[in-house]
């Protein structure tokens, strides 16, 4: 079969799958699967026979994981979703992250309340990862606006980076056995101490295989004008690490706002990154004019990409997992909005077109070439 570009689109009313031939001129849409149930995380696992996964967070009947082995023509529930041991006292409220593990059927899952689970059988059974789920800080983390969620899981050899809102960035260097808060340089705007050990509202973290040690973070910015204890905290929203997440520094200069949710790295250039700056009060783009901003020098400077996007009167939000980029030679960006539009940014975001304009509110967009 010729290569296909596959999109998974997690929405308030189920997961959709769109696919296209490589030129990406048009996409065919299927779904919703798990109809009527919110989907906050999806995964396109391209190892071996591709498997698609989606969380299905049913407010009535609890959390499920959906799996497709036919490229999203159908989905079925796995045998079990992650669940806390009864004696733990916590109950699963949402599933925020699904990532591939090292073994062929290994999966990692970040949940709300912030905890980590692992599966060795493609999602049919799950074990709590105690090193972070029972961390001494875990009962001190506080929920952000979206809940107390573990939304980012990044594996890099024996290192595991986790993003928790609001908990901050946690790093394991022993394959996930133990974790420690690693937030040097990561600011917080909602506490008197601008640089606490933990408790930051990290929104998303990204890395690139070809840039060892480099990580990018979209943190909860928007605190430049704070006048309370600890003083203003400008530019704490977009950050970079060059030492495997041990320390972080701002790269927000030049952006119209340091607040935002997603951060995405170009698949073939670890210095090229994309963010979508939002006004902190409305969670929409400044002036009602949506734009993705790109840096081609690891955050030293930024340029605005908006050709084809609305020029005014657009007040949608793009959530933390609702932007992705494919891995074709000239990659395309994709983002989904809380008003149900799915946009494609062709030529690395130079030209934007709306693929679908009336989907349910979009939480999550993932893309893969299979």
């Amino acid at each position: 079969m010729a290569d296909r570009v596959i999109l998974t689109i997690g929405t308030k009313k189920g997961v959709f799958v769109a696919d296209s031939a490589k030129p990406r001129r048009s996409f065919a849409l299927r779904g919703p699967f798990g109809p009527g149930v919110p989907v906050y995380s999806t995964l396109i696992d391209t190892r071996g026979t591709p498997r698609l996964y989606a969380s299905s967070c049913n407010p009535f009947f609890g959390m499920k994981v959906l799996r497709s082995t036919d490229l999203g023509k159908s989905f079925a529930e796995t045998k079990a979703g992650p669940a806390f041991p009864k004696e733990d006292g916590r109950a699963l409220a949402n599933i925020w992250a699904l990532e591939a593990g090292s073994g062929k059927k290994d999966l990692w899952c970040g949940v709300e309340p912030a905890s980590l689970f692992m599966s060795h059988d493609a999602g049919d059974s799950w074990d709590l990862v105690p090193g972070i789920s029972n961390h001494e800080h875990a009962r001190k983390w506080q929920p952000g606006n979206g809940g107390l969620c573990m939304h980012t899981i990044i594996r890099d050899g024996n290192r595991v980076h986790l993003g928790i809102s609001t908990g901050g960035h946690y790093l394991s260097e022993d394959g996930g056995e133990t974790f420690r808060a690693s937030n040097k340089g990561v600011g917080a705007g909602f506490a008197p101490d601008p640089y606490p050990e933990f408790g930051q509202c990290v929104h998303k973290i990204a890395r690139h295989d070809d840039a060892p040690g480099r990580l990018y973070m979209q943190n909860h910015g928007g605190w430049a004008d704070w006048t309370g204890p600890g003083g203003p905290r400008p530019d704490i929203g977009v950050l970079r690490s060059d030492d495997y997440g041990h320390s972080w520094r701002s790269i927000a200069k030049g952006l119209p706002s340091d607040f935002g949710f997603p951060i995405v790295v170009h698949p073939h250039d670890g210095d090229t990154i994309y963010v979508m700056p939002l006004e902190p009060a409305t969670r929409s783009c400044p002036g009602g004019a949506p734009a993705v901003w790109r840096s081609e020098n690891a955050g030293e400077s930024w340029s605005r990409l908006a050709r084809g996007l609305p020029k005014k009167q657009s007040y949608f939000t793009v959530l933390r997992d609702a932007m992705d980029i494919d891995r074709l030679k000239t990659p395309a960006l994709y983002f989904g909005t809380t008003t149900g539009q799915l946009w494609i940014g062709r030529e690395g975001g130079e030209q934007w077109d709306c693929l679908f304009d009336s989907l349910p509110p979009i939480h999550n967009v993932k893309v893969a070439v299979v």
């Binding site: 407010p59 009535f60 079990a80 669940a83």
Partner: protein, 95 residues
């Protein structure tokens, strides 16, 4: 305490696939709590849809004994008599 009453559980449509399509289940139990404990043993997947990991009935579900919500009775300690019907229903939600 007298003989254990046999009651009927009415299973809502979305949950029937977790109990082989059954619309009703018959269980002998003195209280709603024992009904749930029985389901945990005999219909574990169905049970996980009704109760969370802590054993509490999920917050957006209502359990009725005949026409009364157990929240207005004695909760899961509500006693049962022969022929009672226990109905599990999603709460009204909109938006």
């Amino acid at each position: 305490m007298g003989p254990t009453p046999t009651i009927t559980i009415h299973v809502p449509g979305p949950l029937r696939r977790y109990c082989a399509g059954a619309a009703q289940l018959s269980i002998s139990a003195h209280t709603v709590r024992i009904v749930l404990e029985d389901l945990q043993r005999s219909q574990s997947v169905l049970y996980c849809n009704i109760c969370d990991e802590t054993g509490k009935v999920r917050p957006h579900l209502n359990v009725f004994v005949n026409s009364d919500n157990v929240r207005d009775l004695d909760g899961v300690d509500t006693t049962l008599k022969p022929g009672d019907v226990v109905t599990i229903l999603p709460a009204v939600s909109g938006g």
